[in-house]
Symmetry: C2
């Protein structure tokens, strides 16, 4: 099959998608999690961009990171801020919507439309809170697979995502190798380390130390905003690099700083406070606990070496992208993925992009990422159709 | 003058100091801080080890880090845990108390015997709380100078310290170059960066987000223990290295972990919780705010290049020690100090020790540190007497 012709409005940077709506898919039957718990009526929020080809062979699934959601590109009605990876998705962009059918869904346990701890428990009619069962990356992927089935897609051309999204990408290769042709894990890891767990734990402790958290039972009351903001502040430090912080803030003082007391005096403090305060408006504190725990539990090599876990990937294509200044999920962790896939005969490409943004580079660097992903998808499409 | 003969009990590792008491020195007159505020009756807690020589030329001042105190070595009555740098101080040890007179004092603003926010304000008879004036590294050093004057020491043979202690060492060289012959900054920086400020800010926000903090006015009530513990947890992550955490904890589970919910499940989580909980028993939350702020304000090159700031060091000896895995105060910051001192003609030695402990290496690595410091002090003594 031929690739659809590129849109005439394509430019080097491509064009934005425009208006989009989040839709909901309710699983047709109760869903059993890997840990044994059953969710009676789980819902998945998702968005799609482009058209599914008649052969249904041009679908790409995007998996989001900790704080992301289904709104990966385009604009919601009445909003002037596009989706979280808008620069990568649209006509002529890396995930070219003139060629590919792009799907993104909010993860299970999330708080942006998919069932999570803030959802109503059908058994009680009240929000789950901590009664919501623990979810794993594998559970998130299982639910995505139901959505993909519902959309009539037998085999995804590719699954792509950064950070926690990259973990889902790898899990797709392990859970459903027959249902995906190519994997694009970005700034990812096959196994969460002690340092990574430690940062997540501090974030959780910040949430749970907030008296407003009330054991997770705060819905309808004041949310644990200070604790969640604090967790986000810690997270933000780990998403940046020393170099980017130094260049962006250095020791710059805030204009209104009086130099006394313990209010924000340095620009970097104001930035962290702003980021923390902004986050709590759109994110649920319990979801923060559940998703960070899912990340901490992620360890593909827990029971056997990664090379054995990836055994089914012998005919897959894999593009691992890492960023030079990412110290939270450093390139060495991407190289472990690359090695294990390569040893199984997979068609592997590794691309380490030099960027100063730290871990956040997967969201911010779009020039080289676009080129390498665009080319990778083109070849993948040609080889698989 | 000859070096005092080494003690017969000297071994390769040297011997411990034994019993020691913390003493108090009250400044004979009101003390004006650099910012203009006046403290009426400031007190400095200090300890000494060894004997001041008749020529008073064998005195070494040790400066402590954020969570340290005057109790650098030996044992307090009834306690079985020695001072925080005991392995480095004693007969035959790096700071050989058979040869040198070692002094260590709790910093101004501290909570371990020196005047700080938990002290009684003579004007009101109540604890200062946030009425305590902001202190700087230079203020800490000014008060140390008063103590050294009181002890009858005209010129220190050396000033040594790690982390915040290393900043005090550098400040000694800038504030009182005539009163010190040699400087030993360890895992130090001449200027706090955006990343370093950011981590401190998260710690402060953790303290101030605790409702028990009450604007700093919690004395006689419940202390903001959860916030301070959280701050310490963040700090501890930055004191370790990824490698040391991976080797020490990896993904080990706690024996009692049930794998459900959000209690400590991983060993690294239990460790952080323990460290946080332990810290609040001995440390004042307001002091945490004041000292981290003093550190953030530290920037020797704020007004002119470091090489100009160090102009008076042309005849000094300087030993800068850094640790390979220290990502909080990385070796590059020590090299900046080395370069600026060297350009002024100072007799500079730089020693980067390969150790996996991260920033905490300055407290934990004693084999190579001992050798390089011991030798440096010996030569310094020979050249200065």
């Amino acid at each position: 099959m031929m690739l659809p012709t590129a849109s005439k409005k394509e430019t080097s940077a491509g064009a934005g998608w425009g208006r989009v709506e989040t839709r909901s898919f309710q699983l047709p039957k109760p869903h059993r999690l890997r840990g044994g718990a059953v969710l009676a009526e789980p819902v998945v929020a998702y968005e799609t961009y482009g058209k599914l080809s008649p052969g249904k062979d041009n679908a790409v699934l995007i998996c989001h990171a900790l704080s992301g959601d289904a709104h990966v590109a385009g604009f919601h009605a009445g909003e002037d801020k596009p989706g979280w990876w808008d620069r990568m998705i649209g006509p002529g962009r890396a995930f070219d919507t003139d060629r590919f059918f792009v799907v993104c869904s909010n993860v299970l346990g999330g708080c942006r439309g998919s069932t999570g701890p803030a959802s109503l428990d059908p058994a009680t009619g009240k929000p789950y809170g901590l009664k919501f069962p623990l979810v794993t990356i594998a559970d998130m992927v299982d639910v995505q697979k139901r959505l993909i089935d519902f959309l009539g897609i037998k085999k995804l051309l590719a699954v792509a995502g950064g950070s926690m999204g990259g973990m889902q990408v790898l899990q797709w290769g392990v859970s459903y190798p027959e249902s995906v042709a190519a994997l694009i894990p970005i700034a990812a890891a096959a196994r969460h380390t002690a340092l990574q767990i430690a940062f997540n734990e501090v974030g959780r402790q910040a949430v749970m130390s907030d008296p407003d958290w009330r054991g997770g039972d705060y819905y309808g009351r004041k949310a644990p905003a200070r604790g969640l903001a604090l967790a986000r502040m810690v997270g933000h430090i780990t998403y940046l690099s020393e170099k980017s912080m130094e260049r962006k803030f250095g020791r710059l003082r805030r204009r209104k700083a009086n130099g006394r007391g313990f209010t924000e005096e340095f620009e970097v403090e104001g930035y962290l406070r702003f980021k923390g305060g902004h986050f709590v408006k759109r994110f649920d504190a319990n979801t923060y606990l559940y998703l960070t725990r899912a990340i901490d539990h992620f360890d593909l090599s827990a029971e056997r070496p990664l090379v054995e876990v990836f055994r089914a990937l012998s005919r897959h294509r894999l593009l691992a992208i890492a960023f030079s200044s990412d110290w939270l999920y450093p390139p060495v962790q991407s190289k472990e993925i690359v090695k294990a896939a390569k040893l199984n005969g997979a068609d592997v490409t590794y691309c380490e992009i030099t960027a100063d943004y730290g871990h956040d580079a997967f969201l911010l660097e779009d020039v080289e990422q676009s080129r390498v992903i665009s080319r990778f998808l083109e070849v993948t499409y040609r080889k698989n159709t």
